[in-house]
């Protein structure tokens, strides 16, 4: 119960943070808590909904499914997705990776997957 309350409190902080842009203190703080282990998001690295990846993005950060799985319209890069990703099995739709850049760039809040540098 305590964990749930903590998650809800963090989510309450994170949602307005996302709404006003990815680069703010609340989001940075949440990301740091995840990295340091202060916020328990699970230890199992997997794409399954109950595991770490989705726990971080949905429960800890309060992102809705459609924030990533925008199935109603495809971005121009849908041409470069595998046929199996239309929709990917078990997923509600393809994820445009451009949506990830905001946080997952160099000096971004999250683990920097991508090489571009935040200015």
């Amino acid at each position: 119960m305590k964990r749930l309350i903590t998650l809800l409190a963090i989510a309450a902080l994170a949602v307005p943070a996302l709404a006003t842009g990815p680069f703010n203190a609340a989001l940075d703080e949440t990301a740091e808590q995840i990295r340091s282990g202060a916020l328990d998001v699970g230890k199992k690295y997997s794409m399954d909904f109950s595991d770490r990846f989705h726990t971080i993005h949905t429960k800890a950060l309060g992102m809705g499914c459609v924030a990533c799985h925008a199935t109603q319209s495809y971005s121009p890069d849908h041409l470069y997705l595998r046929a199996a990703e239309f929709p990917q099995r078990g997923h509600p739709g393809p994820v445009p990776r451009a949506d990830c850049i905001g946080c997952h760039q160099q000096q971004g809040s999250a683990t920097p997957w991508y090489g571009m540098v935040r200015k």
Binding site: Y45, S46, M47, R97, P112, M116
Partner: protein, 230 residues
């Protein structure tokens, strides 16, 4: 130094998919987890329409996000060697699919099963029947791991070991199979650091450029695109 790159000329590609078929046979990928796919789309408006074909396989990025993700998850199954080739160690891969989620090109493919080349075939072909331990590590398939294009590392490695780097991209034994079979010469493989190599000359002459550069991954596959490098 040597840096292997590929150029794909979409102005020449006619969408025959020979490269896709060749890769399937060479690397025995399953249909659900292809290492090489053909993307096609229409351009223009009737009656002035066109069709563009481009194949996508691993971009072997200088800053591979798949490797960053794998390292961050603690598995360290993905490596990038000194020749620029990004490889997955199947023994270390946990099948977590973090690399699948991060690759902007949709390259890594989670393979759930090890299958033969011919669905429904009762017997494996002699090629498929080669014992696992006799195969190159990139061909020692396992279920529930992520696979992807290796630039046919099993063909490059012997040339490198023999110090025969100049054969790569020219000798069929040491050239990625997809690049060998293209009937219209739309695929070229070679050393970017050699200013006289065919890839270097084609990239310069045709203004070939990587796609999705906004991700900053610095891909090592260059495309000749209609309308220039943007």
């Amino acid at each position: 130094m040597t840096k292997f790159v590929r150029v794909i000329d979409t102005m020449r590609c006619m969408g025959c998919r020979s490269c896709v078929a060749a890769c399937a046979v060479e690397n025995n990928f399953t249909p659900e987890a292809p290492w090489n796919v053909m993307v096609e789309y229409e351009t223009g408006a009737y009656p002035n329409t066109g069709r563009v074909f481009a194949t996508l396989n691993c971009m072997h990025c200088e800053n591979p996000p798949c490797k960053t993700a794998c390292d961050a998850a603690g598995f360290k199954a993905i490596s990038k060697n000194e020749f620029g080739v990004v490889l997955i160690d199947y023994e270390k891969c946990s099948g977590c699919r973090y690399c699948v989620a991060t690759c902007p090109y949709g390259v890594p493919q989670h393979n759930e099963r090890v299958a033969g080349l011919y669905p429904g075939a009762k017997e494996a072909t002699p090629y498929e029947a080669i014992a696992t331990e006799k195969r190159h590590p990139t061909h020692r398939k396992l279920p529930n791991v992520v696979e992807k294009c290796t630039f046919c590392w099993h063909k490059l490695e012997p040339a490198i070991a023999a110090g025969n780097l100049q054969a790569i991209g020219k000798d069929p034994r040491h050239t990625p199979t997809c690049d060998l079979v293209c009937p219209v010469g739309a695929r070229i493989f070679g050393d970017l650091d050699d200013p006289n190599s065919e890839v270097s000359r084609v990239i310069a002459r045709k203004k070939a450029a990587p796609i999705k550069r906004e991700f900053g991954t610095k891909p090592q596959v260059y495309y000749v695109l209609e309308g220039g490098d943007n």
